[in-house]
Symmetry: C2
Subunit: 187 residues, 2 copies
């Protein structure tokens, strides 16, 4: 059985979790492995329809994703989760569930930048008071204290960051080391 792993991207809304995950997934597939993609928004359709954004509902959502991740890793599979998962205690509970295959990746982007991007218009809504419980605005984000990886999106592209995760997976023995691509394929 292959070595399983759960790459868990945590960070503010708009920090670049899904973008980094989207850059990582094809790199893992190219290394010959299947990937389960657990994107917070996708998962809310499949696993958590009806849940809101209260602390309790967020926790339930995160734990459900953790449940799926645990089962994937149990079978030696690789799972890439991107979910705000703002509370440290809940992330640590998922870490305990998944076991040593849990790889916490902090996608660290200043909130001013996230708010400027505001891809989903959530920050604007929160500022207008049309949305409560927005992480970083009126709900806390508790950054990881000891993440396996700490990615700064202001200093590197999503593709560069995805490669750092890939390298980590190779070092952990989850993936076989891949030959570097020739420079001309850099996009």
């Amino acid at each position: 059985m292959s070595l399983g792993a759960c790459v868990w991207f945590t960070g503010l809304s708009g920090s670049g979790k899904s973008t980094t995950a989207a850059a990582l997934v094809p790199l893992i597939r190219r290394a010959g492995r299947e990937v389960t993609v657990l994107d917070g928004d996708v998962v809310r359709t499949h696993l958590s329809a009806g849940l809101g954004f209260s602390r309790e509902d967020r926790d339930t959502n995160v734990r459900r994703i953790g449940f799926v991740a645990t089962e994937v890793v149990r079978h030696g599979g690789i799972c890439v989760a991107s979910v705000v998962s703002p509370y440290r205690a809940t992330r640590d509970a998922v870490r305990a569930m998944v076991g040593p295959g849990f790889i916490e990746v902090f996608v660290d982007t200043p909130i001013e930048v996230c708010e400027r991007r505001d891809v989903k218009g959530l920050y604007a809504k929160a500022r207008r008071g049309q949305l409560t419980g927005m992480t970083g605005i009126d709900d806390p984000y508790e950054p990881p204290l000891h993440p396996e990886l700490h990615l700064k999106t202001m200093e590197a592209t999503a593709r560069q960051n995805a490669r750092l995760v890939l390298k980590f997976l190779e070092e952990r023995g989850v993936l076989d080391p891949q030959p570097l691509e020739p420079a001309r394929s850099e996009r």
Copy 2:
């Protein structure tokens, strides 16, 4: 990567799905494989807290289990699900999601027998009118038309039925054939 499979036990409440699953799981583990156990009741805690037993909620529950099963099978894992899953169309939707690894096992026990056992007291409640939407009483159970396996619990023990499933998994190439246990270990 190993060949993945989802053994999906369907049948009335009290038909013996969980009992057969509980007999099967150690046989799979003895064959050297990990198993994800998705028992309807357990899953309602982890994946579907808050869902009821309306047609819509039942479907949501079944589809969520199907979602997890799909991801397990994607990585070559084995999953054993036991869930009433009364509606044919929903089971067929799960079959389509999971793919060729889906093994539908009809646990066929006459409703009179299920009602006599009534382990959870649900039939009595339904008869007293304290519970509506009880499968087999005031909600339909649509038996599989072409299940991979059709188990009759009146003519075989759970252990014997579990061995039929094991044999099927071996024939499918999911498990390596195991040597038969000596007869004295029969319990």
